[in-house]
């Protein structure tokens, strides 16, 4: 009886290193100017999955990411670090998804994997900080959730004991499987890539990547099926189109404003009442204080 672990991961723009060119003139985000990285807390989740896999016989880890074809990069990274395989859920239909549409799409992909014992994901992604997708996937899969996990206290094939990091303390909870766990950034950092795994999997590739490079990989995949990074579209995960993407997202962005101060270089002020009053007014208008 095998034990199936799924890790949900996201490739995100590195908002922690937002430079001056991160915003375009019109106030929209210049994604091209930001490096794409493995969402940090999803790496903590991957480490927790690897740790659990080490303790349970016959456990496997699949990583699911939703995003453009390029997101296959974090699947390869996950495999280098010890995940068994990964899937990129990619479809034009999912563009513009809010958290509800995203969690629906991801839960459909998890369902497609059949019996899953444990789902792990980062608490939140740094490009949105909403922390919504984890609990929402748990609801869609109708399984209990354990949020803000910091440490696995104990695990067997039947149940898991988790230390949760709360605002003012900790809580240890125990759950049977299946369940979903969101992992806090204070959990153990992810182990590095394993050199042997890098050698074995460095040519792992998805169909979109192969098409972009213009290479025929059918022979490679026949000989070494483990080098195929699966790509699933909306039809494959049997998604209801009306619940996907922009159309399936109940939240709409009415407007986006650049923070008033964002484009300015250092502004030098004197301690005069006039300057101090103006500064406070600006900060309040920009919702920075209030």
């Amino acid at each position: 009886m095998s034990f199936k672990i799924v890790v949900l991961a996201k490739q995100v723009p590195d908002t922690r290193n937002v430079g001056k060119d991160a915003m375009k003139e019109d106030g929209t985000v210049n994604r091209a100017a930001l490096p794409a990285i493995f969402n940090p807390e999803d790496l903590n989740a991957l480490e927790m999955a690897l740790e659990i896999k080490d303790k349970i016989t016959d456990a496997s880890i699949s990583v699911i990411t939703m995003g453009p074809a390029r997101a296959a990069e974090i699947i390869r990274d996950s495999i280098y670090r010890g995940a068994d395989n990964g899937i990129v859920v990619s479809d034009r239909k999912v563009a513009g998804s809010d958290t509800l549409a995203t969690s629906y799409t991801i839960s459909q992909a998890v369902r497609k994997l059949g019996k899953v014992d444990l789902v792990l994901c980062g608490r939140q992604a740094i490009d949105g900080d909403t922390a919504q997708v984890g609990p929402q996937v748990a609801e869609k899969l109708e399984i209990p959730q354990i949020t803000y996990a910091e440490e696995v206290i104990g695990v067997s094939a039947q149940s898991i004991r988790i230390k949760r990091r709360l605002e003012r303390g900790i809580e240890v909870v125990e759950s049977a499987f299946p369940c979903l766990i969101t992992v806090h950034g204070s959990a153990a950092a992810c182990r590095f890539s394993n050199a042997k795994r890098v050698m074995k999997y460095k040519h792992a590739i998805s169909a979109s990547e192969a098409a972009e490079k213009g290479v025929d990989v059918s022979k490679l995949w026949d000989e070494k099926p483990y080098l195929k990074i699966e790509e699933w579209n909306a039809d494959f995960i049997e998604a209801d189109d009306s619940r996907l993407g922009l159309g399936g997202s109940p939240t709409k962005v009415k407007k986006i404003e650049n923070v008033v101060l964002a484009q300015k270089e250092s502004i030098n002020l004197s301690p005069s009442d006039e300057d101090m009053d103006g500064l406070m007014k600006e900060l309040i208008a920009a919702h920075i204080i209030g």
Partner: protein, 341 residues
């Protein structure tokens, strides 16, 4: 009636959490705009003086689920109670604190109800929206305003079609204001057995250690930081504390200031302290050594108050105020008060 619901959290001390009182205060204002009622949802165990605690914030109805199993908080029973109540009473707006409880609970509810949910709103307003393509005008929508993308942009989010319109708000963002000291509503005691399922208690809480509020500058949205330069300012850190408290922020300190005994180690910002990314960082008398900057350079907005215009911190500051903190801090305090009256 399509009222406004606020999910109220109960603290370890058995009282309604500040963040919930802040949300009730905001909900009252929104309800007055919309001419509807404010309803609280409380799920807990033997909460003392519940009505006295929250009616003064302008609460018209407290939906109260009282059961020994409902404290401490667990996701599934609270989820079942709130979703069933929302399904029965159909509020137009439902607000939750952006706390470890609210951020655990609200998304699961939104998922079940297939509603939009906006996290960490910094402002909530009522307004309308015209969908020009569809030729529809939506009246009385909740504008859910929040910074996005590392705080570089402010987005206004709406949920035109789904109800309730759901949002979470961080503690300290809204102002806690008593509406009328003698305001009275009704208490609607729920028959808990009708609202929860036996399976909802499938998780076992093995252990809990919750401490009194301790210093945690990591999560603070606003930090007022004092450097060694404050050592020579009379009552320097007292001014820093005053400004931090006024803005709803925390006090930080540089290593030099901590080593000089001006602040506790938990407040140390920098490479060997805490790394922070607040939306506003006010550096007072901070020279800005690399080690310090490593722990705060990702702050969305930085104000530097320094007598030395060439202090390294000024290079990464959005605003530099060249002057003595002893003069500048009281002015900032006074002008903040004058502008937020």
């Amino acid at each position: 009636m399509n009222n406004i619901f606020v999910y109220c959290e109960i603290t370890e001390e058995g009282v309604v959490a500040d963040v919930s009182l802040e949300l009730l205060s905001k909900a009252r204002k929104l309800a007055n705009d919309l001419k509807v009622n404010v309803e609280a949802i409380v799920a807990g165990s033997n909460v003392k003086n519940l009505g006295e605690q929250i009616f003064p914030y302008g609460v018209d109805c407290i939906n109260y689920a009282d059961d020994s199993r409902l404290f401490p908080y667990q996701t599934l029973p609270h989820f079942s109670i709130v979703t069933k109540l929302i399904t029965e009473k159909k509020p137009q707006i439902a607000l939750f604190g952006a706390t470890s409880v609210g951020r655990d609970l609200a998304p699961r509810i939104a998922s079940f109800l297939r509603c939009g949910l906006t996290a960490d709103c910094t402002s909530l307003e009522i307004g309308e929206h015209e969908d020009k393509k569809a030729g529809v005008i939506y009246k009385d929508l909740l504008y859910q305003i929040r910074p996005a993308f590392g705080g570089n942009i402010i987005a206004t989010i709406i949920n035109p079609e789904t109800r309730p319109q759901m949002a979470t708000v961080r503690e300290g963002v809204m102002k806690k204001e008593v509406y009328k000291a003698d305001y009275k509503g009704e208490i609607n005691k729920l028959n808990v057995a009708d609202y929860v399922h036996a399976d909802d208690f499938c998780l076992k809480i093995v252990e809990r250690h919750i401490e009194q509020q301790k210093i945690n500058i990591k999560g603070a949205q606003i930090i007022v930081c004092g450097g060694y330069g404050m050592a020579s300012v009379k009552d320097g850190f007292k001014l820093i504390y005053e400004l931090a408290e006024l803005l709803g922020g925390e006090v930080g300190a540089t290593r030099a200031a901590v080593d000089a005994g001006l602040a506790e180690h938990e407040r140390q910002v920098g490479q060997t302290g805490v790394t922070v990314r607040p939306k506003l960082y006010i550096a007072c008398g901070v020279s800005g050594a690399v080690q310090h900057r490593a722990g705060m350079a990702e702050s969305s907005k930085i104000i530097s108050i320094n007598t030395d215009i060439n202090a390294p911190i000024n290079a990464i500051a959005d605003y530099t105020i060249t002057g003595d903190a002893a003069e500048v801090l009281p002015k900032l305090i006074a002008h903040y008060k004058a502008n937020t009256k």
